[in-house]
């Protein structure tokens, strides 16, 4: 019988570290939160509910996560901004050996050069976490967003 409290604590710590990594603009560390064969996507709730697979960001290897960061740093043009994640407590939906399934609500606030802070994206993380290694890592992370209307564009991961 797994110790659920222990697992909850570990997943909450993982989610917290993940959010701070993005919000502190340490994106080069972001891929380290994932396994090599990971799957990361940002997908609209309207698609998920209709059983449609199209995501606005879809990476099915850690290499693709690294490419996203390099493109953001060197190639893409976007409004300068900072992000602020608020992540709710996790809800563990399944524990099977080393695999943890978990969900957590999130809100991402975005602040651009005009200084106004806007709700950029609200949604839910649906995760598969592997706890076999030194630190738990995401094998799958789906950011399922309610905020259908992406304001201007999305470049920074959620």
């Amino acid at each position: 019988m797994p110790d659920l409290d222990h697992i909850r604590r570990a997943v909450n710590v993982l989610n917290t570290e993940y959010a701070h990594c993005i919000d502190d603009d340490e994106l080069e560390r972001w891929p380290d939160f994932f396994t090599e064969d990971c799957e990361y996507q940002i997908i609209g709730r309207e698609n998920v509910e209709a059983g449609l697979p199209a995501a606005i960001m879809f990476c099915d290897s850690r290499g693709m996560l690294i490419d996203r960061v390099v493109a953001l740093r060197k190639a893409n043009v976007y409004p300068e901004h900072v992000s602020r994640h608020l992540v709710g407590h996790c809800r563990i939906t399944e524990v099977k050996g080393d695999l943890i399934r978990s969900e957590a609500n999130y809100v991402v606030f975005q602040t651009r050069l005009d200084g106004e802070t806007r709700i950029f994206n609200a949604g839910k993380y649906v995760d598969e976490i592997v706890s076999s290694g030194e630190t738990p890592k995401f094998r799958r992370r789906s950011c399922i967003y309610d905020t259908h209307r992406i304001q201007t564009l999305l470049v920074t991961p959620i």
Partner: protein, 424 residues
Amino acid sequence: MKNLPADSITGASPTAVDFRYYRDPEIFEAEQRHIYAGPTWSYLGLEAELPNPGDFIASIIGAVPVVLTRGPQGALHGWVNRCAHKGAMVCRRQRGNAKDGSFVCVYHQWAYDAEGNLAGAPFQRGVRGQGGYAADFDRAEHGLQKVRVASLSGMVFGTLSDSAPPLESFLGEVMCANVRRVLNRPIRILGYARQMMAGNWKLYSENSRDSYHGGLLHLFYPTFGIYRPSQDSQGEIDTNGFHSLFSVFKSSTAIDYKNFSSEANREMKGAATLQDARVIQYKPDIADNVALSIQSLFPSVVLQQIQNTLAARQVIARAVDQTELIWTYFGYADDDAEMTRHRIRNLNLVGPAGYISMEDGEAVELCQNGTAGSDGARSYVAMGNEGGILLHVAPLGMDENNVRGFWKGYFELMRGWDQVNARP
């Protein structure tokens, strides 16, 4: 004055446009009448979104909410989503299936069929002799406003105008041929993405007709050293100038982008290497030599084939400075699971988070913000204007031909708007 080449279209070639056209609410209002309610066809959706009788999707023509339905016999119908009674929206969902084929306004339960005919109004004859409508109340006179709809290879358009030419005449042969090319076999909807840009719709319309910016604004390919300049490419417009088609053909020779870096103001060497190149992989899936096509159909849609991404981008003018893009992604019905996954991976290139498209949102907003208080200042869209507006330009990238085509078509439709609005 030079003689126009044989393939140029007649009429002025606008090379400068008053920035007021991006900002003036009065012009935005005039566009509703002259452009969207004028003799044009607006994109409504794809037939694959409503395959079965009773299916419907909510769409829009300019500011006018429209519903596209499939009737019991399988025919497509369109109507303005505005109850004939009080003007309430009858259909309140984005899409779905009307099980019994009827659309009932929640306010007073006026019920309409899929064609928009009034099927019944509660208490039409009153109750026990009290109230009700007059004896000569004719349901046929109180239906929803009908929208003419037409489909080209499953791409559905609608018009509010009785004087709009048939859809295929409006689009012209060149444009129709490419729609048929992309929609050459049954498709499967893969999903949607929506993007809101704080800018005028015409800034986006110009952007999708502007081949000049491609390799200069979108630096993904050059940054990763994978840019192939579009030597084997062409731009086309229809004879009115409205619609634009960019095609890039499969190239037999890869050309090093370094040759072009001295022409650009920003560093363009291949500074990085992709860790996972599957994102840009291309698997030929249309039996011809076109590797990329971006087709802008006036006034409201872009049909794209970029790598293996297929999409219709509906351009919705929400306000003079607010434009929504709805991306409808699709593949072909005969795709296997691996091909679908490949398309989803390819979608990283396009959409609101697309490696080679996200910058368009930023460019639109920069132009909207930069033209504030412009007071008579004008744009300068004169690149490659030798010989006026051409029906065909090759290769792409060194001209703004199709942008000028857009403005020519636009101004012809808008002719007289300021007189109409003149106050006594």
